[in-house]
């Protein structure tokens, strides 16, 4: 090994080796090749490799490693590889059964055994070996002896006449692949070459490498039709091979390995893609020759390299003097596109190429048709640039993409006679300048949609608190602009379906934005003091009008359910955001989405959750506390609001979600600028729960079967109670808990000061567009509910209470107090009557005392106890016990409803 390094390492070797790997960053080296792709080989078919080839390739690879290990006397490695080889061989048993044991395998076995024996006899060498190796050697020797017993005849045959057996194989191979006639010769040639390369031991086993070659090489290689090239190549390599074999066996063999490897790899990558293209051999030859040089220096023992680059063009597109016309350009374009998606393709270079092609087309005035086509492809390859779905575009790519789409739209707007569509077949395109309109294959809508998705992806992957995010967000305007332009374009040209799709895009970019100018206009503040920019902004339609128009179109025309659902949800969201509560609610109820949203896909569900939350917040602003609570209940009660709204992932252990799922979930996240403030959400929920729950708790203090309105609120209360030391509230939750406690006592002033103060203002209330109005509403609600709570809690203390006092206590008008108390009386929540002349509430004291309540509860509990006990008896007696009379039991259960003690006793007497 060291000898190779010693021979020198020039910079070239580095370069060429880096070119081997697919590195988009090194286009310079890829352009070094002087030849271009051309079309004459376009049609050559490539034979798909059989399972056999694959298996044999695996085997040969292993064999190669073993030989390498043998050379450096690394017995441990040798042993390891040998075991692997045995396994691999077992795997390919099917094929072996069909084809017979491949000779190269036998060869290895024979060689290995010889080699081992030789080593074994070399006592001195053995002594020098380290312990590991010595041990491995003995193990391996035993193993191979045992193993070779099965192949004794083959090995014997091989040893007898190595050459012949190899030739036989040679004959067979080309026959299998069934390709061109000269493959025989070629295979032979190659075999000789390889043989000379692969000699690695003093006693020549010349045929060895041939098999390596033929196993995979000839099968694939021979399918190509141009003999000259192949001939050239092989003769060339023969030449170099013979030269080098003189110098040193080891060196050459390594070279050969690399050499072989190279071809195989390129073929492999080509084949995998199943494309019909194949670069010209000559070009390849040069390339390979260069690599050889590099490789030789580096030493050939390194393992498989990534697929070799396929597209190595120069920016120069056409040979000099070629007349540049449309078919030529199209051909060229196709040629470039062929490489698309292949492993070795340098994507950056491809984009460059396409740009260059566009420039050429432009220079030569080939018409807009071809330009449109090229543009389409540029954009497509920009999207292709990122290998996987998770990665997002780099800023420069993104800029390029936006520019391209803009240009494309420019062309489309300028030229009315271009028809584009996905359904136009490649061959029915008409790109030539003629009287007929252009017909180009491609779908601008898809491109724009993809662009929009890319934008979302960029936003998802940017840190929302950085300047970068703001910068990226500035592009939103451009994205919207493009969507708007496309919308205009499609309105004249596109089908309804396409219009629906682009409308939805437009809606998606509109629904979450608060329309400040419309808001201002509605407040009547439109006016003089504004700057010019504001003036400009306030022109144009209200977003509400736009939403209405777009959504209604979709409702009427859309045939896919999903677009309509999204549109409805966005529409509702938009209504709710702008405090049009009734419209939003009606739309939600009419859509019946609540019934079947669970069948929708996750993104739609996230949108639904967002809409529900917005609806709840809207209801809260309007003072519909109950509606607000109901709308938010589902989201808040799960405790996973963050996840349900697509605003972040919850920390969970890996058992629940693997990396794959996490990636998917990450892709669903809503970009930061569309987030709904979670603290606001929780606060709104807790405050509405407080306003509902506290009076309810006061009213049902003694009810044993009291249900909770909001579990989460109770949870917060309990957390508050558990605190050993209660300081002044800090967080939003603590504020609400403290306020709840005050409200329990009917102390509305304290409650008010806890809910509305500077801290809460800055945290929550100032986030609403109509802050002042919301706060006023809240104060009023707190007053009313505190009054109710007060009456529930302390009514037993009063005989009568003047409404005037109440109105003073709670700073409410007498009329309001009157109406609240009347409502309570009507609902039978308060046992009292109103004395009109004196404006007092007279308590009736008909409510059961706590002792009576307790007794009732006890009776109820005893009832269930007896019932449980009966079940035990039922079980004991069995169905046929006859201990219990079924009728009686029914009668008992009827009685249970009314807690008739007599009923119990009668029952019990009859039962026991």
């Amino acid at each position: 090994m060291s000898r190779f390094f010693a021979t020198g390492s020039d910079s070239e070797s580095e370069e060429s080796s880096s070119a081997d790997e697919i590195t988009p960053k090194a286009p310079g080296t890829t352009f070094k090749q002087s030849l271009l792709l051309s079309d004459d080989e376009e049609d050559t078919k490539r034979v798909v490799r059989s399972a056999k080839d694959k298996r044999f390739e695996e085997l040969t690879n292993l064999i190669k490693t073993i030989r390498n290990a043998m050379k450096i006397r690394d017995m441990a490695k040798c042993l390891e590889e040998f075991e692997q080889l045995c396994r691999a061989f077992l795997k390919s048993k099917n094929i072996v059964d069909k084809e017979g044991v491949p000779p190269f395998y036998i060869r290895l076995l024979a060689d290995l055994e010889d080699y081992l024996n030789q080593l074994w006899e070399d006592k001195e060498g053995k002594k020098k070996m380290n312990k590991n190796n010595a041990k491995a050697l003995s193990t391996l020797r035993q193993k191979i002896r045992k193993y070779n017993r099965d192949y004794e005849t083959e090995i014997a045959a091989y040893k007898e006449n190595p050459q012949e057996s190899a030739d036989e194989e040679e004959e067979k191979e080309p026959g299998d692949s069934g390709s061109s006639s000269d493959s025989d010769d070629e295979g032979g040639d190659e075999g000789v070459t390889a043989k000379s390369f692969l000699k690695k031991k003093p006693e020549p086993t010349p045929e060895a490498s041939k098999f390596l070659k033929t196993a995979k090489g000839s099968g694939d290689e021979s399918s190509s039709s141009e003999d000259d090239d192949d001939e050239d190549w092989s003769s060339d390599s023969v030449h170099s091979g013979s030269e080098s074999s003189d110098e040193g066996d080891e060196k050459t063999s390594s070279l050969a390995v690399v050499f072989l490897k190279k071809t195989l790899d390129t073929e492999k990558s080509e084949k995998r893609l199943g494309k019909k293209r194949k670069p010209k051999k000559k070009e390849r030859l040069e390339e390979e020759a260069e690599e050889e040089g590099g490789e030789e220096v580096e030493g050939g023992w390194e393992k498989v390299k990534g697929g070799a680059p396929l597209v190595k063009e120069k920016p120069k597109m056409f040979a000099k003097g070629t007349e540049i016309n449309i078919p030529v350009v199209v051909k060229k374009l196709n040629e470039i596109l062929q490489a698309r998606g292949k492993k070795g393709t340098d994507r950056a270079a491809q984009i460059e190429l396409l740009h260059a092609l566009a420039a050429i087309a432009n220079e030569n005035n080939l018409g807009q048709g071809i330009m449109v086509k090229i543009k389409f492809n540029i954009i497509a390859s920009l999207y292709d640039y990122n290998p996987n779905l998770a990665a997002f575009m780099k800023p420069d790519m993104w800029k390029k993409c936006l520019d391209c789409i803009d240009e494309l739209l420019d062309i489309l707007f300028d030229n009315n006679n271009i028809f584009i569509g996905e359904n136009i077949a490649e061959d029915s395109e008409s790109l030539a300048i003629s009287d007929q309109p252009f017909r180009v294959r491609g779908c601008i809508l898809t491109l724009v949609e993809r662009m929009d998705e890319e934008f979302t992806k960029i936003m998802q992957n940017t840190d929302p608190h950085s300047q970068e995010y703001v910068d990226n967000l500035k592009d939103e305007g451009r994205v919207c602009g493009i969507i708007d332009r496309l919308l205009d374009y499609l309105e004249t040209k596109g089908s309804t379906e396409e219009i629906c799709r682009i409308y939805l895009r437009r809606i998606m970019h509109t629904y979450y934005k608060f329309d400040y100018k419309a808001h201002r206009r509605s407040l009547g503040l439109q006016g003089e003091t504004k700057s010019e920019q504001d003036q400009e902004e306030s022109e144009g339609e209200d977003s509400a009008v736009i939403m209405d128009r777009l959504c209604k179109f979709i409702y009427a025309k859309d045939r896919t359910d999903r677009i309509r659902t999204c549109a409805i949800l966005c529409h509702i969201y938009h209504h709710a955001l702008h405090s049009r509560w009734y419209q939003a609610r009606d739309l939600m109820l009419m859509s019946h989405l609540q019934d079947n949203i669970q069948h929708a896909d996750p993104p739609v569900q996230i949108l639904y959750n967002r809409t529900m939350v917005q609806l709840g917040i809207c209801a809260f602003r309007q003072g519909m506390i109950k509606d607000a609570h109901n709308a938010l209940l589902d989201i808040q009660s799960s405790g996973r609001a963050k996840e349900l709204l697509g605003q972040g992932l919850l920390m969970r252990n890996m058992q629940e979600r693997n990396a794959e799922q996490e990636k998917i979930e990450k892709r669903r996240q809503v970009p930061f600028h569309m987030h709904i403030n979670l603290e606001l959400l929780e606060c709104v929920y807790l405050v509405s729960a407080m306003l509902l729950e506290i009076p309810y708790m006061a009213a049902h203090e003694f009810d044993a079967r009291r249900r909770m309105i909001s579990k989460q609120f109770h949870h917060q209360l309990r957390v508050g109670e558990r605190q050993p030391l209660l300081g002044p509230p800090e967080s939003m939750r603590e504020h609400v808990v403290a306020a709840s406690k005050a409200m329990k006592m009917g102390d509305w002033r304290t409650c008010h000061s806890f809910i509305i103060n500077e801290k809460m203002n800055s945290k929550v209330w100032d986030l609403f567009p109509e802050t002042q109005r919301v706060r006023e509403m809240l104060v009023r609600k707190i007053q009313e509910e505190s009054l109710r709570t007060y009456l529930f809690t302390y009514s037993s203390v009063y005989d009568s209470i003047s409404m005037e006092t109440l109105s003073e206590m709670f700073e409410l008008e007498i009329a309001t107090v009157h109406s609240i108390i009347s409502k309570m009386i009507i609902n039978e929540e308060l046992m009292a009557s109103l004395d009109q002349p004196t404006q007092t509430v007279v308590m009736h004291r008909t409510e059961p005392t706590s002792l009576q309540n307790m007794a009732l509860q006890l009776a109820e509990k005893l009832g269930s106890l007896v019932e449980n006990n009966e079940r035990v008896f039922d079980l004991k007696q069995g169905v046929y016990g006859g201990y219990f009379n079924r009728d009686q039991k029914g009668g008992y259960q009827q009685n249970k409803g009314g807690y008739q003690r007599g009923g119990y006793r009668n029952q019990n007497q009859s039962n026991y």
Binding site: S850, L851, M854, L858, S864, L865, N868, V872, L875
Partner: protein
């Protein structure tokens, strides 16, 4: 005050005897007034609300009468002296008392109670260990709340021999209890108590009574009842809830058991059929498998807790009954007085 007076008014039978057919070595308990006062004082000083105070009774047995002549309290437990050695403390205490020539024989323990909620596992266990070690030991239950209402409430309990048997065997499964044929009524036996003072003290008391300037305040005649009843009901309800749970537990257990029995039965039948078939075909029968391994019987719920809960409920009910009947009497009396006026 009233309680003190009562305890001072000579040998009074506080409790009616529950029947003379006690087959235990102790048929009567005679308590020195000193002991009663010490217990009350102990609670007054250390017991608050539902907290319970405990202490050791000292005395000796005379014939079938247990004479309790002195007592000392257990120190209140606090969190920070967890390594406090109770046994050590007791031995030390008894040795000291012996030095001043006081009876030093351990004859039981006392405990205060909160609304009569003393029938618990802890009481059962410690009384069992007492009675196991010292046959004649009793537990004195002092109810401070009832006492405050006007009548001294001090009761002595022992475990019945039956319960002793069960506790010894530690078999609390449904079957075990069924075999022992024990109900909650037969868990504890109450021993009649007699409070006795020496003649000298009696003389002093008589003397004091004449001179006493304390106004006669009769808590006994207090008419308010709802508070006490509410508390009792609350406790009663909790117990009833527990009872329900226990029953549900037992229910599921017996259902599971019967289900399994059925399965077992089916399995056996199938086995038999198969074996019969095999026999007719001349094959050897299937090997016997351990059925108990295949059908592990469900864990039976311990029934002792249920018994205790039942005993406790019974106790509460007695309390409430007693209390309400007394109150009704008082109310009628008050009515009559009003009419008279």
């Amino acid at each position: 005050m009233a309680s003190r007076k009562e305890s001072g008014s000579g040998p009074t039978t506080v409790m009616a005897s529950t029947g003379g057919t006690l087959d235990s070595p102790v048929k009567q308990i005679q308590i020195e007034g000193l002991v009663v006062l010490k217990i009350i004082k102990h609670y007054q000083e250390e017991g608050q609300g539902s907290e319970v105070v405990q202490g050791v009774l000292l005395g000796l047995v005379v014939d079938d009468r247990l004479e309790i002549t002195n007592c000392f309290p257990f120190p209140q437990h606090t969190e920070d002296d967890a390594d406090f050695d109770e046994v050590q403390y007791q031995m030390e205490m008894m040795r000291s008392l012996r030095h001043v020539n006081i009876d030093h024989l351990h004859v039981g323990w006392y405990q205060s109670t909160y609304y009569g909620s003393f029938v618990s596992r802890a009481l059962l266990d410690s009384q069992f260990s007492y009675q196991h070690a010292i046959e004649e030991s009793v537990v004195l239950i002092y109810d401070p709340i009832k006492t405050a209402q006007g009548s001294l409430s001090l009761k002595a309990y022992r475990l019945t021999p039956k319960l002793m048997e069960i506790c010894k065997e530690k078999d609390f499964t449904p079957e075990g209890l069924k075999k022992a044929n024990i109900g909650f009524e037969h868990m504890f036996e109450e021993v009649p108590i007699v409070i006795r003072n020496s003649h000298l003290i009696n003389a002093l008391m008589w003397d004091l009574e004449d001179k006493s300037t304390v106004a006669d305040k009769h808590e006994l005649l207090n008419l308010s009842s709802s508070n006490h009843l509410e508390k009792s009901l609350q406790l009663l309800m909790d117990r009833v809830d527990d009872m329900s749970q226990e029953i549900v537990k037992y229910n599921t257990y017996s259902r599971n058991l019967s289900k399994q029995q059925q399965q077992k039965h089916q399995y056996l039948q199938r086995r038999q059929q198969e074996n019969a078939q095999r026999q007719s075909r001349g094959e050897p029968p299937l090997p016997e498998e351990d059925i108990t391994k295949m059908f592990k019987p469900p864990q039976p719920p311990p029934r002792m807790d249920t018994l205790l809960i039942a005993g406790q409920i019974n106790n509460y009910c007695q309390n409430v009954k007693e209390f309400t009947s007394q109150n009704l009497g008082k109310l009628f009396m008050a009515e009559a007085l009003q009419e008279h006026n």
